[in-house]
């Protein structure tokens, strides 16, 4: 039994969705050959060693994986995030290279349970993009205003952060629900609509995904639902500034420290440049109508050729995205707690998919045109 516990296998989301335009693993980044064991060290007490392999050859410093571990000490009834500061090794948080990874979790006998062999561990990974520290041109005024008249925007300066390359998918969110949503928290009936979301609540409080919906962006998520998922991952929502910088790129695409790669179009209107989403009969994102190939939502990454300078997909169109920012230009401030949503959606007119379009929403709002993606906070960047 003990050996079986030490070699307990963990859940891995291995399916890979191949995008129309490129090979894109749009759900969890696959982790392979995961092994978990308890090691008893001479000086430091027991530690849990987790080994796994990241095979995706596209993982790089510019396009890393965000890897987080979750554990249960009660046979899978309850799961919690493993604190990053309890870990050592080369395979947690921002991981910049593919290959065999090893992670050591120290101190579980002091902080979690006196019997570390009771602990189960799950490993998940998300494809991220690196936004180096430095200035960028911000034209949308945080809080809902916008100022397209600016020829040169303020030198807004942001520290390093990482943003998910893809909007959070139905499959990822269903996985989250299956771990934490037993009482129904985070799920609502409208999510069952297979044409706009596709997460079905089964009778035993588990969740399944409507066939074929795995790689579509999750919708009908309130701001609180989005925050719940991201806290579960150890991530957070982007600020409006981070969202806009992710779309345009900084003044230097390798950051203000290196300054070797000037952004050719730092004031671009769309992730790909200034061309309208449908200019010249080329469809660059998922907006209103079906001319772009999608009557409603599109699988994430479907327009990978038209990603942002950092390689982030679908900032234009598909789903508008929750941000961390309050809406602060209204007399509602402090009363109703509006939050700001950025970007266009599959219902938006083409010009509404640009860098400055935003909307205000009550955080309880659940909508088929709103989703989210995560950001790794600079404060915890390695």
């Amino acid at each position: 039994m003990a050996r079986q516990r030490r070699l307990r296998s963990i859940r891995v989301c291995a399916a890979i969705w191949l995008a129309l335009c490129a090979g894109v693993e749009a759900r969890w980044l696959p982790t392979h050959d995961v092994k978990v064991r308890v090691e008893h060290t001479e000086m430091g007490g027991p530690r849990i060693a987790v080994e796994y392999e990241l095979k995706d050859p596209n993982i790089s410093p510019e396009s890393p994986a965000y890897v987080f571990l979750r554990y249960s000490k009660d046979l899978g009834d309850n799961w919690q995030l493993v604190p990053m500061d309890a870990l050592q090794g080369n395979g947690f948080d921002i991981v910049e290279r593919p290959g065999r990874k090893e992670v050591f979790w120290w101190g579980t006998d002091q902080t979690v349970t006196t019997d570390p062999e009771q602990i189960e561990v799950r490993v998940r990974a998300i494809a991220m993009a690196r936004a180096p520290s430095g200035r960028f041109v911000m034209k949308a005024l945080p809080g809902g205003g916008r100022d397209e008249s600016r020829k040169t925007g303020p030198d807004t300066n942001l520290p390093l952060y990482y943003m998910a390359k893809y909007e959070t998918t139905v499959a990822m969110y269903a996985d989250y629900l299956n771990e934490v949503g037993g009482e129904g928290a985070g799920w609502n009936q409208r999510m069952a609509r297979a044409d706009r979301c596709g997460i079905i609540q089964e009778s035993n409080h588990t969740y399944s995904v409507a066939p074929g919906r795995e790689d579509y962006p999750v919708t009908y998520v309130s701001w609180y639902d989005a925050m719940g998922f991201l806290r579960w991952c150890g991530l957070r929502l982007p600020t409006e500034a981070e969202w806009e910088k992710a779309l345009r790129g900084g003044l230097y695409l390798d950051g203000d420290e290196a300054k070797a790669r000037p952004n050719p179009r730092p004031e671009r209107r769309y992730p790909w440049g200034d061309e309208a989403p449908d200019e010249g009969g080329v469809y660059r994102c998922n907006f209103d109508g079906e001319d772009d190939g999608f009557e409603r939502l599109a699988p994430v990454g479907s327009f990978g050729k038209f990603a942002s300078p950092y390689g982030i997909c679908d900032l234009a169109g598909n789903v508008a995205e929750w941000t961390l920012d309050w809406y602060s230009t209204s007399y509602h401030v402090g009363l109703d707690g509006f939050r700001t949503v950025r970007g266009g959606s599959w219902m938006a007119v083409p010009e509404g998919c640009d860098a400055v379009t935003g909307a205000t929403q009550l955080p309880l709002q659940e909508s088929s045109i709103m989703g989210f993606r995560g950001v790794q906070s600079p404060a915890t960047a390695p």
């Binding site: 100022d147 209103d288 508008a320 602060s328 007399y331």
Partner: protein
């Protein structure tokens, strides 16, 4: 201009734009027919109304309209979710008026569009739900009343507090004489607004028909930071626009007095010196026959709170001293404090003893029900257009007083004009851009 017909109005007011069919008559509604609506103005309020009406089984929202196409998605999504059917999306509201199958215009535009769109809708045989404040100015409010009567249209104004059952109980309480003779009513509107941001004028964003958005108002250079609510050209002001809810309630509570004979007012821009031309501080005194009503209003008082969501639909009362949207009714034998937004009311006797408490709920649902009922019955709605006119008119007078140096203005109800200040009379009506005028005879 002589008697207006739609063809002439379209030509005179809107150039060559718009269909030139004769005005359709109102569609004969069967008892089981859905009422078909078009919603004009897709900001927060318009989207809310579109969603709420679309949720009703007896309504179909067939059109959503805004000159800014970037506003389409959010409203369309809300309506599709509510009624499981896609509305048509248009920039120009005249497309809705041209459609004979449309019964109702929901007008949730900025103030400067309330009158023109509502009058055109009446002429097109549509009933109207128009957001408060009823009109941009006194003259336009009167024209809206005239249009509703002439074309026998229902116009419900979005002053939903008047439909809340707890307000009716309060009115009955006062009517029963439990406060004695009421001689003074104080209305409060103490808010906290941010300053407008400063930005240079700039190009009009793609997908935004700015010419149409301006419509009957002056077409200033586009500025992304200008807030229409803070400019006389487009608005009655943030104070009037919100305080009209409480003032309408106050009028309702004391039996709907008609016109003030005089209005004294002191107003100023004290705190929000950000390019606005409307006061951020106003105290006004409205002299009615046998009754004085007052307004205390500000935009820079953060400790004064609108009734929070947790109280609005609960058995709780707001913290009255810091309630920013309350009405105080003072009688010879008792005192009542009343909260908007379902805040409830409490009454005190001559010994300052609490003698009655009534919790409240908001009246949105009842207000919408009443509108639908009146569309079918052809009765006048709870917040009929004339009520809307008389509830905002005192604020128009106060604003005009501000514009003529805080003078006390005497008002003649028969002519709806001032008797002691010619300068003030120039603000009864606004100047229209060529091609966008509302004619004398609607």
């Amino acid at each position: 201009m002589g008697t207006l017909n739609r063809r002439a109005f379209l030509r005179s007011s809107f150039g060559t734009v718009g269909a030139l069919a004769l005005w359709p008559s109102a569609r004969a509604l069967g008892a089981n027919d859905k009422i078909v609506m078009g919603v004009m103005g897709l900001g927060g309020r318009g989207t809310y109304l579109a969603e709420k009406f679309a949720e009703r089984p007896d309504v179909e929202v067939a059109y959503l309209c805004d000159p800014n196409t970037r506003r389409f998605a959010r409203a369309r999504e809300a309506v599709e979710e509510a009624q499981d059917r896609s509305p048509k999306m248009v920039q120009d509201f005249r497309r809705m008026l041209d459609d004979k199958s449309v019964d109702v215009l929901i007008n949730a535009t900025p103030d400067h569009w309330h009158a023109m769109a509502s009058i055109l809708a009446c002429q097109a045989g549509k009933d109207v739900f128009v957001e408060k404040p009823l009109a941009h100015n006194i003259w336009e409010g009167r024209k809206m009343v005239e249009a509703a009567r002439k074309y026998q249209r229902v116009i419900q104004v979005g002053m939903q507090s008047r439909s809340a059952p707890y307000a009716h109980k309060a009115r009955d309480y006062i009517r029963a004489g439990k406060l004695g003779e009421v001689y003074l009513v104080r209305v409060y509107n103490m808010m906290q607004h941010p300053k407008q941001r400063e930005a240079p004028d700039g190009p009009v964003p793609d997908g935004f028909d700015y010419e149409l958005w301006c419509g009957p108002a002056p077409k200033r250079p586009y500025n992304p930071s200008r807030q229409w609510l803070n400019q006389f050209d487009y608005s009655c002001g943030p104070i009037a626009g919100d305080a009209v809810h409480q003032f309408d309630l106050a009028r309702f509570l004391v039996g709907d007095p008609l016109y003030p004979s005089a209005v004294s007012q002191t107003g100023a821009i004290r705190s929000l010196r950000d390019g606005r031309d409307m006061p951020d501080t106003q105290m006004a005194l409205f002299e009615y026959d046998g009754l004085t009503m007052t307004l205390d209003a500000s935009l820079w008082t953060p400790y004064m709170k609108k009734i929070p969501a947790s109280i609005r639909d609960s058995d709780r009362f707001p913290d009255w001293p810091f309630c920013s949207t309350k009405v105080e009714v003072l009688g010879t034998q008792g005192f009542m404090v009343f909260g908007r937004h379902g805040g409830g009311w409490q009454a005190y006797d001559g010994n300052s003893e609490l003698v009655h408490s009534e919790f409240g709920r908001q009246g949105d649902k009842e207000h919408q029900d009443n509108f639908i009922d009146c569309i079918r019955s052809r009765k006048r709605p709870t917040s009929d257009v004339e009520i809307g006119h008389l509830s905002v008119l005192p604020f128009h007078i106060a604003n005009i007083s501000y514009r003529v140096g805080n003078q006390r203005l005497q008002f003649d109800p028969a002519t709806e004009s001032f008797t002691n200040c010619d300068e003030a009379n120039q603000y009864l009506k606004r100047q229209y851009r060529p091609g966008w005028a509302i004619p004398e005879s609607v």
